[in-house]
């Protein structure tokens, strides 16, 4: 197994223990998904930028949203999403079902590997960055793990294989 494959497997293992569904997919198949699934909100980078679309946000929330992650961290199964754009923040907090697209080449091993990215992003005057690991959860009632207390009730990661 190459190092990248190992990181990918590790990421999937960790993300799945945090109730995240992981789907490995190639570019073309992913484009098909974007065509078929009628996401309320799409915010992705090239080569999927043409699918981007916005929506209105109110307390009713939205059904689903898909956003791109800049990085993913294998040791914790975490996606790193630049949410400085307010729409991304609203979409990722208010969607019932959240989908994240990430490139397998952007998976790093550890939290420490994300430090230079954090420094770079935070060199701007303002920034809002999110580490997301699984759907919104609570264990506040008798410590029973319950999903979807404020934010998404499900999280799906599309891992686009670009290597």
């Amino acid at each position: 197994m190459t190092n990248t494959e190992a990181l990918l497997e590790k990421f999937i293992e960790k993300a799945e223990t945090e109730q995240t569904s992981c789907i490995k997919i190639d570019k073309e198949a992913f484009k098909n998904i974007l065509r078929e699934q009628n996401f309320d909100f799409v915010n992705l980078n090239t080569p999927f930028k043409s699918f981007n679309k916005g929506c209105e946000f109110d307390e009713a929330g939205i059904k689903n949203a898909i956003v791109g992650a800049d990085f993913a961290i294998a040791e914790t199964g975490t996606s790193v999403i630049d949410s400085t754009d307010e729409k991304i923040r609203l979409a990722t907090t208010l969607a019932e079902n959240l989908f994240i697209a990430l490139h397998s080449s952007n998976i790093v091993a550890k939290l420490e590997n994300i430090v230079s990215y954090m420094n770079e992003k935070n060199s701007a005057d303002n920034a809002y960055l999110a580490f997301i690991t699984g759907p919104s959860r609570t264990a506040d009632i008798e410590r029973v793990l319950t999903i979807g207390v404020h934010g998404p009730v499900s999280l799906t990661c599309y891992i686009i294989q670009d290597l």
Binding site: T78, T84, D85, R89, T92, N126, I132, T133, D140, R143
Partner: protein, 711 residues
């Protein structure tokens, strides 16, 4: 005494008992899993070092942070104390014409009782963390830093929700309850003009805060309303992202045993906001002092400012597990709660609750920030003892009796005589004492033996064995007066291996009981005498103890209490390096044993054995007993003895003991081995009182009967 009543009430709360007990045992497992493969000691040392700031340094970090966030038009404010912070927050809310304020869980806002203040000013703060919201609508306070409503059952929560919403709720449908909270709280994010959050970390190098949550409510509170107020204590500042990531790595693992929490949100400056008149969020940072800044200069309280608020010092605390956070702490709970109550709140209240610490050190060894909580608690106890009064009976015992070896000996001799009519048939124990309250009779106490260890040592001519290989043995009060036979076994065994064993000319208490009770003066005098009577450290290969608590006192407290005495300090430093438990010595000497019997053994690790002297003999015992050794669940959790603690709080002590006994019974072992006479007193006494036929022995007694193999 108010505290004793509060304790009694909590001890009778069966719901609390079950919830905390289940939580504690699950927590230990998931934490272990989350930490597997990591170098915990290194990581926590890194965090400790990265948070080790002087007052000047923290103020410099604050300036650095401020500069960065002001660039995008945010306001950074300093709040001298809770009232100042409350006023500032109210002013901001009024300035933006807020009615509703959504709050994401923040201990700092609990600290300053923010909700109460806002409500008085006509504002409507809504807690959005599920646990906090349950407590808010029930009119209660959190009992845990991470799981605020851990003391509530699903049935209770269902009732609270029914009352609040008017809907009928099935008490077993937790999913439904969570959905209701989701529905109710969602609308408030949109109604609110202001969102208030805390911050787990403030990164000075960029001016970014980090917020750790599972529910995602901090994300909503910091996104939807047009105004964001961040309330943060100065101690949350770190230098840079490398340091921040270390905290992110250990915090959730320690807090809940999760690998990472669902959301870590990093916010810098003023971000876009469609609800804001300017198109950008109005963002305010309020840095709370409330005493913190001066404590950066305090000799022993300074370390408490390194706390990352994971709450795990409560999760592992056996005393907390019995009474919960409404008693064990004030606003902040658990071990750190005892300390922060002194620092940030009421000193008198702190003085009372500090006595709830049994001194087991579990918190210190567990803290991801490397804070030696138990030692701070012990120092605080001594401080309180000096400032307020110490129970006069105790004071008399520590100052007039225990520190004077001859008086102590006479007193014990007299007691040995007086106890005669109260002895059981075997003369090993006392009968249930008729004139003391029933709750103290949860164990059969050992009798004071008519011959002390030192007398037996002479009588059996153990002092005549001479050899060039020498060790020094410090018996401690328990071996001297209650369990002399344990000491004899050890000396005999060592002599078989060719070692000469010397003992102190005069037996003095190690000083720990006095220190623990807050009588630092007597502790110090006792220690100085001890050092005088102990042999020259250069002559001995090791200083052995059979009581790990004495060992820990010699290792840690002797140095601490001789700081003003150069020669004594030097001697205690040398002795401290050589002090070890008996089993550890055997291991180092490569001495093994052979056991053919069919008796099943298990082992209880005394608190100050594993955590004080740093040696766990389990592997060693497995080699000796093979299949017949059965590991004990939660072996290193305290047995509830804690010296005079078990007399002050018999309810807590016996509760802790009951859990230990349950685990012992589950091993189906015939004999429990341990390394501490105090633990024997407690566990053997408890088993005998319950009529359970499991033998309790000190390691030295069993090993002396086995065939020795020199490897």
């Amino acid at each position: 005494m108010k505290i004793k009543q509060a304790v009694k009430k909590k001890l009778n709360d069966k719901i609390l008992y079950t919830n905390l007990k289940n939580f504690a045992s699950n927590y230990k497992l998931s934490r272990q899993n989350a930490l597997s493969g990591l170098d915990f000691l290194k990581l926590r040392n890194d965090i400790y070092k990265s948070k080790d700031f002087s007052k000047e340094e923290i103020l410099a970090l604050f300036e650095e942070f401020k500069q960065h966030v002001e660039k995008s038009g945010c306001t950074v404010l300093h709040a001298e104390d809770g009232l100042a912070a409350n006023r500032l927050i109210t002013q901001i809310c009024k300035k933006h014409n807020a009615e509703y304020v959504v709050k994401s869980k923040s201990m700092t806002s609990e600290e300053i009782k923010l909700n109460h203040y806002l409500e008085k000013q006509g504002l409507k703060p809504i807690e959005t963390d599920l646990g906090e919201w349950i407590l808010q609508i029930a009119g209660e306070h959190p009992s845990h830093m991470v799981m605020p409503a851990i003391h509530k059952t699903r049935q209770q929560v269902a009732k609270i929700f029914e009352k609040h919403t008017g809907e009928k709720i099935d008490p077993d449908d937790i999913d439904k309850m969570v959905k209701i909270a989701r529905k109710y709280l969602r609308e408030y994010y949109f109604k609110a003009t202001v969102g208030i959050t805390g911050a787990n970390i403030a990164v000075a190098s960029t001016g970014t805060i980090g917020i750790v949550t599972n529910e995602g409510n901090a994300r909503l509170s910091s996104t939807v309303p047009p105004v964001h107020i961040v309330l943060v204590g100065y101690e949350k500042l770190v230098k840079n992202f490398s340091d921040a990531m270390k905290i992110i790595r250990l915090l959730p693992k320690s807090a809940t045993g999760q690998n990472i929490s669902t959301y870590v949100t990093w916010i810098k400056g003023s971000n876009p906001s469609f609800k804001s008149d300017t198109g950008n969020k109005h963002t305010y940072y309020i840095f709370l002092d409330n005493g913190r800044l001066s404590f950066f200069e305090h000799p022993f309280l300074k370390d408490a400012l390194k706390c990352i608020r994971c709450g795990s010092c409560a999760n592992v605390c056996p005393a907390y597990e019995m009474v919960g956070g409404h008693v064990f702490g004030d606003i902040y709970i658990g071990a750190i709660g005892l300390i922060l109550t002194s620092m940030l709140h009421d000193e008198k209240k702190a003085k009372e609750i500090l006595t709830l610490c049994i001194g087991c050190k579990a918190c210190s060894f567990n803290c991801p920030a490397g804070i030696d909580l138990q030692s701070i608690i012990s120092d605080l106890n001594v401080y309180m003892g000096k400032k307020y009064f110490i129970n006069p009976v105790k004071k008399f015992v520590y100052s007039a009796v225990m520190k004077n070896p001859s008086v102590f000996k006479t007193a014990m001799k007299a007691a040995a005589f007086i106890q005669k009519p109260m002895l059981t048939e075997t003369k090993e124990n006392l009968k249930n004492l008729p004139y003391i309250p029933k709750e103290h009779n949860f164990r059969k106490l050992p009798s004071i033996k008519t011959k002390t260890f030192s007398e037996l040592f002479k009588e059996k001519k153990l002092d005549e064995f001479k050899s060039s290989k020498k060790v020094f043995f410090y018996p401690g009060c328990a071996v001297e007066y209650f369990f002399p036979e344990i000491g004899v076994s050890m000396v005999e065994l060592l002599q078989k291996t060719g070692y000469q064993v010397d003992i102190p000319k005069t037996q003095v208490c190690c000083g720990l009981p006095a220190i623990h009770a807050g009588d630092g003066q007597s502790g110090k005098k006792t220690i100085l005498k001890n050092i005088k009577y102990m042999g020259n450290p250069d002559e001995y290969e090791a200083f052995l103890v059979l009581c790990p608590s004495c060992g820990m006192a010699i290792k840690e407290d002797f140095k601490k209490y001789t700081l003003d005495y150069i020669a004594e300090f030097k001697k205690s430093e040398k002795i401290g390096k050589k002090v070890m438990s008996f089993a550890n010595f055997l291991k180092i000497q490569n001495i093994g044993f052979q056991c053919d019997g069919n008796i099943k053994y298990t082992y209880h690790t005394p608190c100050h054995q594993g955590r004080g002297l740093g040696f766990m003999p389990e592997e060693f015992l497995k080699e000796i007993f093979g299949q017949n050794f059965i590991p004990l669940k939660d072996s290193d959790v305290c047995c509830g003895f804690g010296g005079s603690f078990s007399v002050d709080y018999p309810g807590i002590s016996s509760g802790i003991l009951d859990k230990k006994i349950e685990n012992i019974l589950n091993t189906k072992a015939d004999c429990l081995l341990t390394d501490c006479p105090g633990c024997i007193m407690q566990i053997d006494g408890g088993l005998k009182q319950k009529g359970i036929n499991v033998k309790v022995k000190h390691l030295s007694q069993i090993l002396n009967d086995l065939k020795m193999i020199k490897n």
